[in-house]
Each structure stands twice: as C-alpha cells, then as structure tokens.
C-alpha cells in the first residue's frame, strides 16, 4: 500500500481535481449549449429545444462581421507594433547599460500594472487635449500600450538566458549587425516572440475597458457582446459568436504552446 503512494493519488484528491476542472470549464460548455437553444429572449435551463438556425442568423448579421473584422485588425496591428517596439526595448535593456535603464524598464511594465480604467481615462483625455478624433488608430494605440509589455517581458527573459558572447562570437566570425540579428538573435528569441505575440493578440482581442475609452462609436467583438446582452433580441447569436471566438483563439494558442515547449528545450540545452 505504501509503495503505491508515490504513484497514485488518493481518490479524494482525484475527485477534488475533477471538480475544480469542471468548475472552470462547465460554464464554457453551457455557453456552447445555449448557442443551440430555440428560446431567443432569455437563457432557460434546460433548453426547450435544439436548433442550428442561429448559425445562419449570425452569418447574415453584418454587425457581427464588422465587429469581428475590427477586432482582428486592431489585434493584428497592435501585436505587430508591440513585436517591434517590445523586442527593441528588451534588447536595449538587457544587452547594454545606460543612464535611466532601470527607469525605462519600469515605465514599460507600468501600463499592465496600472488598472485599465486609468490607462483608458488618460488616453481619452490625451486624445481630447490633442484634438484627435476617435478612429481605428486610437484603439490600436490604446491596445499597443499593454501589448508591448507582454512582448517585452517574454523577450527580456529570453535575452537574459542568451549568452552575450554569442553576439560577439557572430561579429567575430564576420557577421555585421544585421546578419547577427538575422542568423543568431532572431532564431534564439523567435519562440519567445511568438508566445509573446500570441498572448498580446489574445489580450487585445478581449480587451474591454481601454477600448471603451478609445473606440468612440466603433464596436470590437467584446464591446458588441456587452451591447448584445442588454438587448433581448436573438440572444443565442452572442453564444454562436462566443463559440467561434473560443475555437479560433484556442488553435493558435495550442500551436504557440507546442512551439515554445520545443524552443525551451533547445535553449536550455545550449551553452
């Protein structure tokens, strides 16, 4: 009996773990179920009947497409900006010493530590002061502030693990700055950037608070969902959109997970 202890968890622990997982994931399954309900005004359990009509309805709603397209474009551009700025900032902070280095590293991380509502209000008053009308770019700017942090954190951690003499070795062997970046730096930080980029994309995609302050009349997917929940009309459409969002974001995140897992093995075995 005793020798089994190391290998098998007791039944109570198994049940507790199962309950925990159910608690986390059952509500998500409920959302999926409600996407098939025949009752459109309120969510009743059990659903009075099952139908697939809401998929067709959703497909034909132009406001869904608009919100989805806006969200994807905002997330893509914010992530792209964050990848460039975050990587450059991480490289500067981890590879060189200069006056104000610690201050910069703190200032970069600050947006994610600050409550989103503060960032939102600050951006909104700044836009108002500078007389900038709300547009696609004001949302992108708002999202980029916290996307940069995510990329920066991932890149800085990887840079710290990358031996500084590797860059010198590359230069020593005849590679100029660009070649060194292309052949040595980028392959070593690529998986960290991918993971950071995926996370930044996901954060931007479901961001609500900063968006409400910088979007004006435009609707991203989360904002559209909030509005939809208030109006008692074709409610299951929201659930259909939720389902699609879950499926579409899950796949890249799984992909990123597998990529960084391999990448960690390579980086860990080096040096």
């Amino acid at each position: 009996m005793r020798s089994d202890r190391g290998q098998r968890a007791p039944l109570g622990l198994k049940v507790a773990a199962a309950c925990g997982l159910l608690f986390l994931h059952l509500p998500i399954l409920l959302i999926f179920v409600y996407a098939f309900t025949t009752e459109e005004k309120s969510f009743v359990w059990p659903p009075p009947g099952l139908t697939t009509q809401w998929f067709a309805v959703t497909w034909n709603r132009p406001d869904v497409w608009e919100a989805l397209s806006l969200s994807v474009r905002v997330a893509a551009i914010s992530t792209a900006i964050a990848l460039v700025l975050g990587t450059l900032c991480a490289a500067a902070v981890s590879q060189t010493r200069f006056f104000g280095r610690e201050a910069i590293s703190l200032l970069v991380i600050l947006p994610i530590a600050l409550p989103g509502i503060i960032t939102g209000i600050a951006l909104r008053s700044a836009f108002a002061l500078a007389d900038i009308p709300f547009s696609f770019w004001t949302i992108v700017l708002g999202h980029a502030t916290f996307c940069v942090v995510v990329v920066y954190n991932n890149a800085v951690a990887r840079f710290r693990r990358t031996s500084g003499s590797m860059i010198e070795a590359s230069m020593d062997l005849g590679a100029d700055g660009f070649q060194t970046f292309r052949h040595v730096v980028l392959p070593n930080i690529a998986t960290a950037l991918l993971a950071g980029g995926m996370l930044a994309f996901a954060l931007s995609f479901d961001e609500v608070i900063v968006t409400t302050f910088t979007a004006g009349q435009q609707q991203t997917v989360p904002i559209w969902m909030l509005e939809e929940l208030i109006r008692p009309r074709q409610r299951p459409v929201t659930n259909v959109v939720a389902m699609v969002v879950v499926l579409v974001t899950l796949l890249p995140i799984l992909f990123a997970y597998y990529l960084t897992r391999d990448g960690d093995q390579i980086a860990g075995s080096g040096k």
């Binding site: 010198e168 070795a169 230069m171 020593d172 062997l173 100029d176 392959p187 070593n188 075995s269 080096g270």
Partner: protein
Amino acid sequence: MTSAVSFKKVSRHFGSVRAVDAVDLEIAAGEFFAMLGPSGSGKTTCLRLIAGFEQPTAGSISIFGERAEGVPPYRRNVNTVFQDYALFPHLNVLDNVAYGLMVKGVGKAERLKAAEEALSLVRLPGYGTRRPGQLSGGQRQRVALARALVNQPKVLLLDEPLGALDLKLRENMQEELKSLQKVLGITFVFVTHDQGEALSMADRVAVFNDGRIMQVGTPEDIYQRPNTRFVADFVGSSNVLPPDFVQRYSGQHRWGSLRPESIRVSNATSGDGVAARLVGTNYLGATTRLALDADGLRLHAVVPAGTSLPAEGEAVMLTFNRDSLHLMDEPA
C-alpha cells in the same frame, strides 16, 4: 618583418579605471604568445582590443601592419575562441563551424566541406549533426576552435580556453593546441591566469599587472630572471628577498629572487649558510615543499621526494648557489 600585432602606447580606460594603461607590445608572426596575469590585470581587455570588441582610449593598434582602430570585429582577419565557447545553440555542430563562411557568402557545399575538414583537424570528424548541447565541455571547446580556424585567421585569440576543463583534459588540450599551432603556423594569442599553462605552451609570455605589462620574455626568462617582485611572486612563487638580505650575499643593495628548488636544506646547526627553522611541510608527490622561517623572513624550498627531512620546528641550515640568486631591476 611586420609584427602580427603591435600596440603603441595603448590605453583603455573605463571611467576612472585604467584597464589597460599605455601598453607597448609586439607579437611576432607565427608566435605562440601568452598574456599572463591575475584577474583584472588587463590581459582580457588587451585581447578584446585585438578582436575589436573594445576600442582604445589612446594609442594605436595595428594587425599585420594595418591600423585597427575603428575597424569593427567583423572586418578583422582575427578570430576568437571564447571562454564560454559561445556556440550557437540553435545550429548543429557543422553549421556552427560553417557560420563564418556562411555570412561571407560561401556556397553551401563548399562551406560544409570546409567545416567538415576543420572538425577533422580538431579530431571531431562526424560530429557535425549533433547539437552543441549534446557535447561534453572538451568537445565544445574543440568545436569552438574549429569554428574559429575554418576562417583561416591571421591571428587566433584564445580567452582562457582551458579554464572550464578538468586537469587531465586540460593537459591533453595544451599539447594539442601547441602542435596545432606548429602545423598551422598561425599566430596564437592566449590569455590565462595559470602560470604553468603559460610557461608550458607559449613561445613568449607577457606578465600583466594593473593594466601594465611587467615583463615580456621567453618562459625561461620569466621564470629564471623575473625583473620585479610581482613577476617573481606570481610566476611560480619564487622567494622574494629584501635588499638587505641580498647585500650580504651579492654585495648589491637590490631586491632579489631565489627559486624554491635552488635552496638546499641540511640538518647542520653550524657552518656556512642561513640559519632557519622548519615551520611546515607540504607533500606534493614528486617533491616536498618546505616552509621556512629565517629570522622573520618566510622562505619556501622544494626538495625531491625521499630526502630525509628534519622534524617541524627544528633548526636547519639553508645553502644555495650564489649564481642562482637573481637580482631584480626593481629599485630597492
């Protein structure tokens, strides 16, 4: 004949720290040159000045007659074997070795062939498909060596390359590096804090201290005829003798040095010689190292194993050949 590396009054200061201070240095082509010194003595900074990772604050450096100041590392025909090897973890061994040729635009087939040859040169043929992480410390060191040599540098810089290896491996690599250097005829510049390594491998040694070169010479010069107390003490822990002591035996009021193996120890209590007391013995295998106290002056003697020794605390008489007492240039 042009020097491989020439330093003229080269200084490298970091703020108020004078890492390298007005150093003059000539390294001949084809020479195996060692820079020896304690950590922080400026030897590694000198190596980095040759590689191009540091720029001199003052003075001029030339490599085979060409001015080197302002020339970036990637435009110098000089390659480095790094202390931590700095292999690229994302490339396999063959691509690591071929890296220098790849960035210079050499075609794939040609560069892989050259890399394979370089691997054979360091006796690692067929290791090309492995990852650096799968190699032992000694093997990584050979890969780093092959990666530098494949570029056919005019000067090869080695930054404490044997520091991370265990004793047996280090001794093998010392011999191998020396024979490799003979075969290739490339100028090797080698940084180390291990005086034994410097003496056994190098054609000439420069002893560094506090950013300056204390002495340059053949291993024999450095060992037998140190010019300062620092060199005498650092290279093989010679006995440093104060001017008053030296005057009694040579008639000159100067600092002197005496190698531990030049001192003979006898049980005699009277007669010619220096009266001393044995305060400690240290068994080293082939030899025994004795700690002696000659009226307040601490001396060390090394005697062959098997010599009958007086007990600790006993009075002994020390004698030495007058010729082996070396007078140093350093002013008294």
